[in-house]
Symmetry: C2
Subunit: 226 residues, 2 copies
Amino acid sequence: MVKYYSAETKLYVSVDCVIFGFHQDALNLLLLQRKMEPARGRWSLMGGFVKANESVDDAAKRVLAELTGLENVYMEQVHTFGAVERDPGERVVSVVYYALIDIDAYDKELVRSHNAHWIKIEEIPPLIFDHEEMVALAREQMKQKAGREPIGFNLLPELFTLTRLQNLYEAIYGEAIDKRNFRKKVAEMDFIEKTDKVDKVSSKRGASLYKFNMEAYNLRKTKFKL
Amino acid sequence: MVKYYSAETKLYVSVDCVIFGFHQDALNLLLLQRKMEPARGRWSLMGGFVKANESVDDAAKRVLAELTGLENVYMEQVHTFGAVERDPGERVVSVVYYALIDIDAYDKELVRSHNAHWIKIEEIPPLIFDHEEMVALAREQMKQKAGREPIGFNLLPELFTLTRLQNLYEAIYGEAIDKRNFRKKVAEMDFIEKTDKVDKVSSKRGASLYKFNMEAYNLRKTKFKL
DNA sequence: TCAAAAGTGTTAAGTTTACACCCATGA
DNA sequence: TCATGGGTGTAAACTTAACACTTTTGA
């Protein structure tokens, strides 16, 4: 291969993942205590370096899979952090992604072996480097997107009650939502389908279980707004 | 310095700039015909490599200044493109930014010397690599942001008529706007200030010139929506 | 005198918000 | 039987959209 750019500098490129889960009516992040230098023992996002033969997106998927064992997870690129001194070890440019996962479906052994823990988003400890800024940006972007596109369902199991869906959106927005107004909107979105199954765990009376029908959503290019 | 990451691969990191201008009631992009390999002679965005001692943001500012002579330009990071084969020369990860500039205020000699030209956004020729995708993303992001924050003024000179401002937003949205509704909204934003100056160029009758008062906007944290 | 752009209010439609009670069930 | 969460409709406030004519002036 011809080397056109040989006069230029190469840099380390990493990915960092802001991994959202929904647990006990609160958003949680999967954070880990570093087992490597620099900053051993301190809290950080899950990250890793981009390799020569993989795309940046693939690196993010790989890093997420290394931690959770999950594939085909909903991920979005958030922002690239490129300050010279952001990593006190060496110069690293980091591309941040967020991932939305169903908190009941991941490889718990793998997560434990990485020294990772789910932490409520309001109780996040100080993070290394610029990771707090990454979290803040990812959270804001996820919030915006969740209001306009049906990505929140990635945080729920396939079947969910309307109360659970409402609690999810309350956690995302950080504010209470009126129950009747919320259900009115959901009722207008016919790709949020009522099943004939009933959840008897969360209440005595039982609540209908719903599911999100992605095909129906894509087909009719329906409006989404929650 | 301790080399923590020496087992990892380094990559070329570049920045590419989608440079918007507003000319003849249309959005324009500043594009150049490459004078270097690979893809010599074909149209592309202005780009450059990130150096070891500069942040990625600074690289974008430098690259923009190299082409236009302008500093303190409004810029936003858009997205990072990281496919392995995106640049057929060598592996390059590119961070894309957009810039909004007043099309009357730039160094025309510098632009000419780079073989760059303003091209109406509806008449953009085929671009190299993934640059068309970069333009599409930048345009969409700029459009979203322009509706919620007062960034459009960066595309205008300090003084402008309301008709010109409306034409700008029509170009950004790609659709006509009702004149009375538009002026009603503008009138409610007291940080868009009427001056006692009048523009006699665009009409015989003369139109009042307005200016955007950034301090007033920041101070009152006013709502913006156009 | 007329062409060309500036400027100006009102009404209808649609969207968003606020709000309170009955229902079904298991403990 | 009662405590708990499930489920339901309406009216007011606000926002957005549609729409047409008069004014000024230089050519």
